[in-house]
């Protein structure tokens, strides 16, 4: 954990500018077994200090790979010079951004480090279980990945704080041969916010889910291609979470709204059916701690929920201080940075479609000819809200019953059109927090949602 050596530097912040000084350490641990071979055994730490200075609406930033008071002096100087350079050569002449209070945010969660041997031994136990239980696999991967951020933030006119974001996961990846001898793959993710011991003190709890993963893979090996076209489907929670993040979330990040996203003209207008509600949660979601809680952002703003869609109406965007000023609203605390050398950008935190009242089994029973799309491995979307999600596990629905598994496919649509077709929403939300979102820098994000019945374009043969 970082020692606070930066507090003393607050008195050196220049007058007439708005300053944030941030010390940060990122830790990563990675262990990979492929078919029983330990192919990666890596530990990494990167730390440093950065300063961001705002002068009349333009920013200077500097970072140094050294966590010291001398480095803090150097980056404060360089960031100030950069802001003054832009203010001279490309002036905006804007007034100082409004302040929304000052104070100190208390420390939330410790980062606990574990010996690499402990991690390797745990992965080996899981690998041996998979190898022994499922000899029909053509390959198996066990991947442990851990990343944590430890930040000390001092600001000229906002909140200060010491914040941490530890998370760790084990991926179990299996490949099997299909009926026509083609390799097919599925994976399951275990873990979440916290340190190794929080999730992997023992591994017996993982076995039923590993068994279920193999069951699904066997079903997939006997799978069929989806029929391409515009279909009625049920998006499982994994896909509706992806929808919340990729297809809607990015279009309502205020910097992308200013950049011309489709959400710009839709504020306070209908973008979905009455059943659609969506929120970017800061630290508490649906009565529990959010998967990746954020209490203080990297501009020193208290993080609060951003309500995006309410009963189908677009209600708001996610903001940093600059965009909040432009939209004449309060910032939501969405300014986040990945490493010590990154400036904060508007990023999502825990973005979710809210649950409804329907039961999944009733939703399946309501479809004569369609698909139940269960798992996704990736998603992308555009400023227009045109999205694509990969589907790695799903089933045909025939006459209200699940049919054969389907082979890998993709679904696409335009978010604000597709959301208007949502006519059933399940009562249970599932979350995923293992991924990164990419937008100049990467950042950990949580995404979640219930099952949604809707119409969507599906790819296939």
């Amino acid at each position: 954990m970082l020692n606070d050596i930066l507090k003393i530097k607050k008195s050196l912040f220049a007058d007439g500018v708005q300053t944030v000084l941030r010390g940060q350490e990122n830790r990563n641990r990675r262990v990979v077994f492929v078919n029983g071979n330990l192919v990666a055994n890596v530990r990494s730490e990167s730390r440093g200090v950065n300063a961001r200075v705002c002068k009349n609406g333009v920013y200077g930033f500097s970072s140094m790979a050294e966590y010291s008071q001398d480095a803090a002096d150097a980056v404060l100087k360089a960031a100030t010079e950069n802001a003054l350079f832009l203010n001279e050569h490309a002036p905006k002449g804007l007034p100082a951004q409004a302040s929304y209070g000052r104070g100190i945010v208390p420390f939330h969660k410790a980062i606990v480090d574990f010996e690499q041997k402990r991690i390797i031994d745990t992965c080996k136990i899981i690998d041996e279980y998979v190898a022994k239980t499922y000899p029909d696999l053509v390959s198996r991967n066990i991947v442990y990945t851990e990343d944590s951020q430890d930040k000390i933030i001092y600001t000229s006119d906002a909140y200060d704080g010491h914040v941490t974001n530890p998370r760790c996961y084990i991926y179990v990846i299996m490949s099997i041969l299909s009926k026509d001898n083609q390799p097919l793959e599925l994976y399951e993710v275990f873990g979440g916010s916290g340190s190794f011991e929080d999730h992997f003190k023992d591994t017996a709890w993982m076995c039923p889910r590993i068994d279920n993963l193999h069951k699904k893979l066997v079903e997939k090996a006997d799978g069929v291609y989806a029929q391409a076209g515009y279909k009625t489907v049920i998006l499982g929670g994994s896909l509706s979470g992806m929808l919340a993040h990729e297809a809607v979330g990015h279009t309502v990040e205020a910097d992308l709204v200013l950049g011309g996203s489709v959400a710009g003209p839709y504020l306070n207008k209908r973008v979905g059916s009455d059943l659609v509600n969506m929120v970017d949660f800061a630290h508490t979601a649906l009565g529990q701690e959010a998967p990746l809680p954020v209490f203080l952002d990297d501009e020193g703003q208290l993080a609060k929920d951003a309500v995006l869609i309410e009963n189908g109406i677009l209600k708001g965007y996610m903001h940093n201080r600059e965009s909040a000023e432009k939209f004449n609203v309060e910032p939501t605390g969405n300014a986040r940075a990945w490493s010590f050398s990154d400036e904060p950008l508007i990023r999502m935190r825990n973005t979710a479609v809210l649950p409804g009242k329907d039961k999944l089994e009733d939703m399946i029973a309501s479809i004569d000819d369609g698909y139940y799309l269960v798992d996704t491995n990736n998603g992308q979307a555009d400023l227009t809200g045109e999205f694509m999600f990969g589907v790695v596990m799903g089933y045909e629905i025939k006459n209200g019953k699940l049919g054969k598994a389907i082979l890998d496919t993709t679904v696409t649509g335009i978010a604000f059109d597709m959301l208007k077709t949502v006519d059933m929403v399940s009562d249970t939300v599932s979350w995923n927090s293992s991924g990164f979102c990419g937008k100049k820098q990467r950042i950990p994000v949580g995404l979640g949602g219930p099952a949604l019945r809707c119409k969507i374009m599906i790819g296939g043969r």
Binding site: V39, S62, N82, I120, E185, G259, P265, M457, G459
Partner: protein, 432 residues
């Protein structure tokens, strides 16, 4: 510690004191100056000083790797200790290794001393040129940067490579806007050492700006058909990266799931396709000089006239599988140009698409892909009928490379690749 050779000496002394006689490491000092413009206005200027060290220690046939950026004496000592502890925790596997002794080499690439004032003016001109020449383009972001690196690689076999490099980089993200009409986001980027040519005239910047304006007028494609797809150079390069990941790289070769694992020397693509990693090519800016395993980088033919020549695998995978190690770990991609023109490929297409981007993720292990055709145009009876959205393409990577219909003489060179337009058949195109 500011001198990279002093840091190197401390690392080796540290290994010696812990009884480690087998090791490799890379040290990188990196400085970045980066201009950011949002919505057509400069918004942020960044100056970044970063380091990176990657140390691998070997003990009793086991190895451990650590990375870090703390180049202080205590930081270096911690890295050495951590790498040794990681090695002790590992499982013995003699396949983990690095390159043998090679002659020492120092190299210098690209721009030694940047002219940041001139670069600032060039980026400013780029913003102004777009505003004047492409009035329907809304620029979301332009990032202009100069990155310089000082790199040292050493291993306990006596290999010593040291080099410096510097280059300018520009990336743009933008979309077309006309009244209520908005296009998909388009983007392009390039690395360069040329500050004399206008930035708007470099790489494929104009193609992408033209494209974003043309995408404002869209037509619908309905139903489903088998047709040709002409991939733009950037999009075909993306499919070459998919090919590498699915058939040629460590993951699938080590797992044994690559469908090409036994196909070196065999036909895997059309005779018209020749692909290599060519870091020495003068069109590649600051190409790779040594691999992650410590081999001096050599040009690596991947596919020659449709015949698979080499995999793209590390020494570990090579030792595990008995296949030759790849002495090029870059993505310095050269796809040999053909003799067609883009116009002739369009004229020869009865029904199909020009595809400028693919939103679909990595194809399945069996090569099947399915995704959205982005920044694309519909072709019918040899004519471009208009821009399209909500169109999906489905196919198989291996089958697609066999069914190449034509390759253009024209290429895009962005400093990291040289790739032509490539037309393939047998793609299922489906509209709404």
């Amino acid at each position: 510690m500011k001198n990279i050779r002093d840091i190197s000496q401390r690392i080796e002394n540290g290994f010696a004191s812990k009884g480690i006689s087998k090791f490799s490491y890379t040290l990188v000092e990196k400085e970045t100056r980066e201009l950011n413009a949002e919505n057509g206005e400069f918004s942020l200027l960044r100056t970044l000083f970063d380091n990176n060290a990657v140390l691998t220690a070997y003990k009793d046939g086991k190895n451990g790797t650590v990375t870090g950026n703390d180049f202080s004496e205590s930081g270096i000592d911690d890295l050495v200790a951590s790498s040794v502890a990681s090695a002790e925790a590992a499982i013995a596997d003699p396949a983990h290794d690095f390159a043998p002794k090679q002659d020492a080499e120092t190299f210098q690439q690209g721009v030694c001393t940047p002219d940041f004032g001139k670069f600032f003016d060039k980026v400013k001109d780029l913003i102004q040129d777009i505003k004047v020449e492409y009035p329907k383009i809304q620029i979301m972001n332009i990032i202009g940067e100069f990155v310089s690196r000082h790199v040292l690689y050493r291993n306990s076999n006596g290999t010593d490579f040291e080099g410096t490099s510097g280059a300018y980089g520009v990336t743009l993200e933008f979309s077309g806007h006309d009244g209520d009409k908005t296009t998909n986001l388009d983007y392009c980027g390039f690395e360069t050492i040329d500050l004399d040519t206008r930035l708007i005239d470099q790489a494929s910047v104009r193609y992408h700006l033209d494209n974003a304006q043309k995408q404002l007028e869209q037509i619908s494609v309905t139903g489903k058909f088998d047709g040709n797809v002409i991939f733009t150079p950037e999009c075909f390069a993306e499919f070459m990266m998919f090919t590498a990941a699915n058939y040629l790289s460590d993951g699938t070769i080590l797992e044994g799931t690559s469908l090409w694992k036994d196909k070196v020397g065999q036909q895997v693509a059309s005779e018209s396709l020749t692909v290599c990693l060519k870091s020495s090519d003068s069109r590649i800016v600051c190409g790779e000089r040594f691999t992650g395993d410590g081999f001096r980088t050599e040009d690596l033919p991947i596919i020659e006239n449709g015949i698979l020549k080499n995999f793209m695998i590390s020494l570990y995978t090579a030792n595990k599988t008995g296949k030759p190690v790849s002495k090029n770990s870059s993505r310095d991609l050269i796809v040999e140009s053909g003799s067609s023109s883009l116009d002739s490929l369009v004229k020869a297409t009865e029904k199909g698409l020009i595809v400028g981007g693919f939103s679909g993720g990595q194809p399945s292990s069996n090569g099947d892909f399915s995704g959205v055709a982005k920044n694309s145009y519909y072709i019918e009876n040899g004519e471009i009928k208009g821009a399209v959205s909500e169109v999906m393409i489905n196919g198989n990577l291996g089958a697609m490379l066999i069914d190449i219909k034509g390759i253009t003489a024209e290429t895009v060179q962005d400093g990291g690749m040289v790739v032509p337009y490539v037309c393939v058949g047998g793609i299922v195109v489906s509209g709404k």
